[in-house]
């Protein structure tokens, strides 16, 4: 209750004073007007159609070009293996080593036998006597 302004007239005057610079600036500012500098060369006039072709046609051509570049390889490769179709392709290894089949060829025989042989670790060997490499085979 002690915060109530005691003199409202004074507050109004202060407010008006604060707004005065902004009002003065707005009132005195004229419309912006500037000619092109004299040093600029005036080129030949460009038609609206030319502008549209340049600003619309070039991005459109780029769009078509990029789309073609993205889709052309898969269009050229066809649909891949179709259901029921005989296998005719080369080997493919998904999630294989970086070197592919060549890397597998470098794998020596002892690596395979070590992977499928008994474990040398004495502590875990007893626990894992029943568990070695596994898997199964099938035909269709």
């Amino acid at each position: 209750m002690t915060n109530r302004p005691s003199r409202p007239g004074l507050r109004r005057a202060v407010r008006a004073l604060a707004l005065t610079p902004a009002l003065v600036l707005l009132g005195t500012a004229g419309t912006a007007a500037a000619d092109a500098p004299d040093t600029w060369q005036t080129g030949p006039s460009v038609s609206g159609l030319h502008v549209i072709l340049l600003l619309g046609g070039v991005p459109l051509a780029l769009f078509v070009l990029i789309t073609l570049l993205v889709y052309l390889p898969s269009m050229r490769h066809g649909d891949g293996h179709r259901p029921g179709e005989a296998w005719h392709g080369q080997s493919e290894w998904f999630g294989g080593p970086r070197g592919g089949l060549e890397a597998a060829d470098r794998t020596t025989r002892h690596a395979v036998t070590a992977a499928s042989g008994p474990r040398a670790e004495g502590v875990r060997a007893e626990q894992d006597t029943q568990v070695g490499p596994g898997g199964t085979s099938g035909r269709w």
Binding site: G80, P83, H88, G89, F94, G96, A115, G135, S137, R139
Partner: protein, 127 residues
């Protein structure tokens, strides 16, 4: 279609995604080889499996569409959570899809099934 283009990019993407999803699901490494076996299928599959980055926790699925052969090799750690009977179920799923001519569908379903089984580890110390 030119010879050598076994899968379209969409089919490759589908198989890659199935492998990624399976690895996320069960934390094992999955690898799928589709192509002709060099020599006997099982030793060839084991050789491929041994050349993987982490063979013990890897599962290799080998599909030879020309010879109609299918091999699944599980490493030691993978075998603990994915026993051979569970692998056999996934093999059956793949076989039935392959028999219908659906190579990509069989691979994706089989890999997913293997991961599903591996996610539920068997109780080893029961009783």
């Amino acid at each position: 279609m030119a010879a050598g283009d076994a899968f379209s990019s969409a089919q490759r993407h589908e198989i890659d995604r199935a492998i990624r999803d399976a690895e996320t699901l069960c934390r094992l490494e999955f690898s799928v080889f589709v192509g002709r076996c060099e020599g006997e299928a099982r030793p060839f599959a084991e050789r491929l499996h041994a050349s993987l980055v982490a063979p013990s926790r890897s599962v290799l699925v080998l599909v030879d569409p020309a010879s109609r052969l299918l091999e699944v090799v599980t490493g030691e750690d993978a075998h603990r959570v994915l026993d051979d009977s569970a692998v056999q179920l996934a093999v059956l799923t793949m076989q039935s899809a392959f028999a219908e001519g659906d190579l990509v569908g069989g691979i994706t379903r089989g890999v997913h099934q293997l991961a599903e089984h591996a996610r539920r580890p068997t109780t080893r110390h029961a009783g």
